[in-house]
């Protein structure tokens, strides 16, 4: 029993963190939202070179054959830096669901995206993806982007899809959905951590009534509650990454609910302690506030995940839970 990240896993996170931090990720995200996808695609390429797209792809298909723990580690870093692009769709969902050449292309870093109605009805960044799919009960269809929709998060470029022919009848849809929900949970966690860190820095600088606002208990307790919520969300993410097939769906749902709650609490608190400046688009906090709001309902709403947990718990006798 060693329920802590290994040194390799921590090193992997640190190297991704350095790479992204050095690439002006907020600038990349803002450009992406404004329609200039070139810097984002360049960052995509560099992260793909580090193996992020290939983590869940087996080695024989040109992947890393890593575990969901590495996936969670990587996506926490992506969330921390609000990296734009269909990462969950490609590196989590499609890397799991696809097979053959299409999977190898994802592992090699192709920008791929997917819509999985009803939980994920629109395809993220379908206009820049070289592979676009629509998942249905009869399998995975190729698709083409149609109307573009506006997300609360300007960096999420969502599209309705026009379905094409059946591409793949692979039956790993449930596993792929859980991989996507797990990756989204980890992203929320990273985003929540980033907002908390920014809020802590700010309340140590900002002074009102003659002292730093971070010395007021009313501010301290709100931020302490964010710290506590994030601290207890992370083990659920890692627990879900280690779960076996029997427990996986429930464990992933628990992680998604807890990470959504914790990150959303972080975003609300972060906004509150920043005051009016936090409410502006210009201030970088806006990138995370809107990203978190979007991810709370992406890949299964909290309501869906809670219902899935309850269904699983009540269907399982106490001794086997």
């Amino acid at each position: 029993m060693r329920f802590e990240l290994t040194e390799d896993q921590r090193d992997f996170a640190a190297s991704l963190d350095r790479l992204i931090a050095g690439a002006d990720p907020v600038g990349v995200a803002r450009a992406w939202g404004a329609g200039d996808t070139a810097p984002g695609l360049s960052l995509w390429r560099r992260l793909a070179d580090q193996g992020v797209s290939a983590l869940l792809v087996p080695e024989e298909a040109g992947g890393m054959g890593a575990t969901p723990v590495e996936l969670a580690v990587a996506f926490e870093v992506l969330g921390k830096h609000a990296v734009p692009g269909p990462w969950v769709e490609a590196a989590a969902y499609l890397a799991t669901e696809l097979s053959g050449e299409a999977q190898e292309a994802v592992a090699a870093g192709a920008v791929a995206t997917v819509a999985v109605p009803p939980h994920t009805p629109y395809a993220l960044d379908a206009d820049v993806a070289t592979q676009v799919y629509l998942a249905g009960s009869d399998g995975l269809r190729t698709a083409t982007p149609d109307e573009q929709l506006t997300s609360v998060d300007r960096t999420r470029r969502l599209f309705r899809l026009r379905a094409g022919g059946i591409h793949d009848t692979a039956d790993r849809a449930a596993e792929a959905f859980d991989a996507a929900a797990l990756a989204t949970s980890a992203q929320l966690l990273g985003a929540g951590e980033r907002v908390l860190a920014g809020a802590v820095t700010y309340v140590k600088q900002r002074r009102q009534f003659g002292r730093e606002i971070g010395s007021y208990q009313a501010i301290k307790h709100q931020l302490a509650d964010v710290r506590i919520a994030l601290d207890f969300a992370r083990p659920l993410v890692h627990g879900a990454a280690l779960a076996d097939d029997v427990d996986r769906g429930r464990a992933v749902s628990a992680a998604k609910v807890a990470c959504a709650d914790a990150a959303y609490r972080a975003s609300r608190t972060g906004l509150q302690v920043h005051g009016a400046i936090g409410y502006t688009e210009e201030f970088d906090l806006s990138v995370w506030i809107t990203r978190i709001r979007a991810l709370v309902t992406a890949w299964g709403t909290p309501g869906f995940h809670r219902a899935r947990i309850l269904q699983s718990l009540t269907a399982t006798p106490a001794g086997a839970r």
Binding site: M1, F3, E212, S215, A224, R227, P235, H238, R306, A318
Partner: protein, 382 residues
Amino acid sequence: MDLELNESEQAFQAEARAWLAENVPTTPLPSMDTPEGWALHQEWEARLAAARYSVVSWPEQYHGREASLIEWIIFEEEYYRAGAPGRVSQNGIFLLAPIIFEHGTAEQQDRFLPTMATGERIWAQCWSEPEAGSDLASLKSTARRDEERGGWLLNGQKIWCSRAALAHWGFGLFRSDPDAARHSGLTYFLFPLDAEGVTVRPIAQLDGEAGFAEVFFDDVFVPDADVLGAPGDGWRVAMSTAGNERGLSLRSPGRFTAAADRLVDLYGERPDARVADRVVDAWIKAEAYRLYTWGTVTRLADGGDVGAAGSVNKVWWSELDIALHETALDLLGPDAELESRWLDGYTFSLSGPIYAGTNEIQRNIVAERILGLPREPKGAGR
């Protein structure tokens, strides 16, 4: 990273599970805060000790089995899963014993630990005073040197002393140097509650039972042999217990995962869509606590310590305990007000955010020591 128990841990788990299945009383014991319940709980402690399950992590010479921290948590999970009684000796085992192991003399260890392990002598925690709750540094009860007899004379008053209404001995801090700064000049004493000059006045709690008491000291003599750690060093000695109480030792996750399981069962018996999300949230939080604890155990095994993270932990389990029980009461509907195990648990849970340092204090610790936020200036309400 993994969550797998090794072979010997699995064997330990199977053995504990089997013993508990065989030995846990089939009907719940009466409250330990009543004289008859107290006696039955002491008997249970003796039975646990005879099977060397009362203090699994202790050395064998003191009735333990030198279990690892992982095995201790495994045992606690099995203990609560089996629905075993609350531990009447928990203040001693979890709060005092770690201090005796760390700061006590060999003579004190030999004298105090065995009867603690068997439940023969039950210890009460005597920390708070009327003017000093979470702010232990403002304690006023005094210890005056008695050179002639080789000891100290205790005077003053302690309050909210858990288990003191029926316990045999107490432990607490007294101000032994009135001129020293707030945190200095405190000494950690052990004393019999039937000593001359001690008056114990039980205080009924919300549930009507005397779970704690006021204790008055009127020139109570304590020999040097019953001072724990160096005189004047009591603050440092006590802080190691505070960490234990807030952190791992008092609130192993087994208690909450077992309650979450019972809550899910209750929901199965009385499904109510309006409460469903809260059942799920309570279960998620208990699960988060279980996993978080495995992370803590891993860090401790690697030589780390709990530190200020104990405050994160304390806020979590205390609020989780209330959420679990409030949700159960809401499922029970009009029957919620009737005597039940859920109602007992609910009443007990209400004390969680208050004792062991209020949750307001814990949030300050999280904000200042973990997030690095500035302290409130003097005179700003502290």
